[in-house]
Amino acid sequence: MKFRKTIITLHRDIGYFFAGMIVLYAISGIAVNHIDDWNPSFIIQRKQIDLDLPSDPSAITREHVVKNLRPLGEEGNYKSFDFPSSLRVKIYLEDGSVTGILGTGVGEYETIRRRPIFFEANSLHIHPKGWWLLYSDIFAGALIFITITGVCILPGRNGLAGRGKWLVAAGVVLPLLAAIQL
């Protein structure tokens, strides 16, 4: 009885301690699962714009470039411009860029900003570094501990020896099926 009581206490307290982290990682997991449908870490906005620039790259000056940034309210964020190829000009901004196809007047204005909460959660979740890597390993170990203690808490017909074993088995079957199918 004393052992069970210790297990319950550890399960409860470690569970409390890691509750925030479990929710955070779960949210990040859902976000990254759907990476094909959205960018989970950044809000990248792109829009077509008109550009008024000479078609000859050598004729393009900083003044031309800044003039084109005014309607976007980005003239203060201008950093530099360059030519990725003979077809294209790229204007670098503090938080984005403007790319134009030379001689067409067609441009694309792109901005990037971090998706609040998700960026931080995904960074911690996907690329742990330094002390956070160690802490993440401890967290993973704690999850195993919480799970094992969790299934052992209840005795009797609602415990692992009773209906618990069937539910655990059912929970293992699904990932096994998925692994076989893949």
Binding site: L87, G96, E110, I112, I126, K129
Partner: protein, 319 residues
Amino acid sequence: MSRVSFPALLLFSLVVLAIISLTLGDPKEEVRAESSATSTSQKFGVLLVSHGSRSDRWRKMLRDVEVATRDRILASNDAIVVTKTAFMEYTEPSIATRMKEFDAAGISDVIVVPLLLTVSSHSFDDIPTIMGQRRDAVALETLKSEGIEIYHSKARVHFTPLLDFPAMLKDNVVRRVEGLSKDPKNEGAVLVAYGSQAYDAEWRLLLNRLGDVLRSKSQIMASEFSWCGHIVDYETKPTEDAIKEVLKTKETAIVIPILVAVDEMFQHKIIGGAVENVGQPGRIRYLPDAILPDRSLNDWVVEIVNETLVKVTGPVESR
């Protein structure tokens, strides 16, 4: 005191001047010597940078380029003391790792050879951003979020052009098409490349030019191209469609991957999958090969490194 005649004095002065001049040496020579001292203080490293892949085979093919060119590059000029290979993503050695090694070795200048097909976000923004040479907001944020280390090296960085410039690529494609060709008049080529959303116009231009080269250098008059990369979500269908298009007018389609090296996912799963899905094995000829290995590419790497060195330092005597 005897009197000295003016002509004798003039002659004496000229002789003294000549002796002083010879002792001090030619002023131009002195500049050359100084310039030579500057260039000898420059230690060059060469970094062959490629995209990176989880495929061992892909990475080996890129490492082989370094192995095949290392001795020739090092032998070509005293200033170059080391060559290395780096991968932009997925695996070590990363670009940051290599640039740190160059800094630790006291390399003053690094000639970076991007072994990439043509302009893309990787070549124009990502690689320079990783090396601290550019500050593209999107590249900076996304690279960091992907765990790719940004490293501002002490060494100066000099980029060479990409693979799309030289005749080497054209010859490579013609050679590979002709290797599979049996009856050119009844064959069409399907060129399959990675593609780029941001630089679609440039990629289309390159593939169209390669099609033109095939028409002028071989007897294969019909060609189509398709993408197999992120731009098409790694789907087989665009390649299937391109093969079917060629088969509408020609008896046989020759499928050529315009990819730098062999990655099982691309040459086997995507392009090979498309070939299988079309379901006419007798009418399609396909080898899951790549631009590499190619001796001409190795020669090009040696040449472009030396050309870049000359641009940076001026002409230097070879060994």
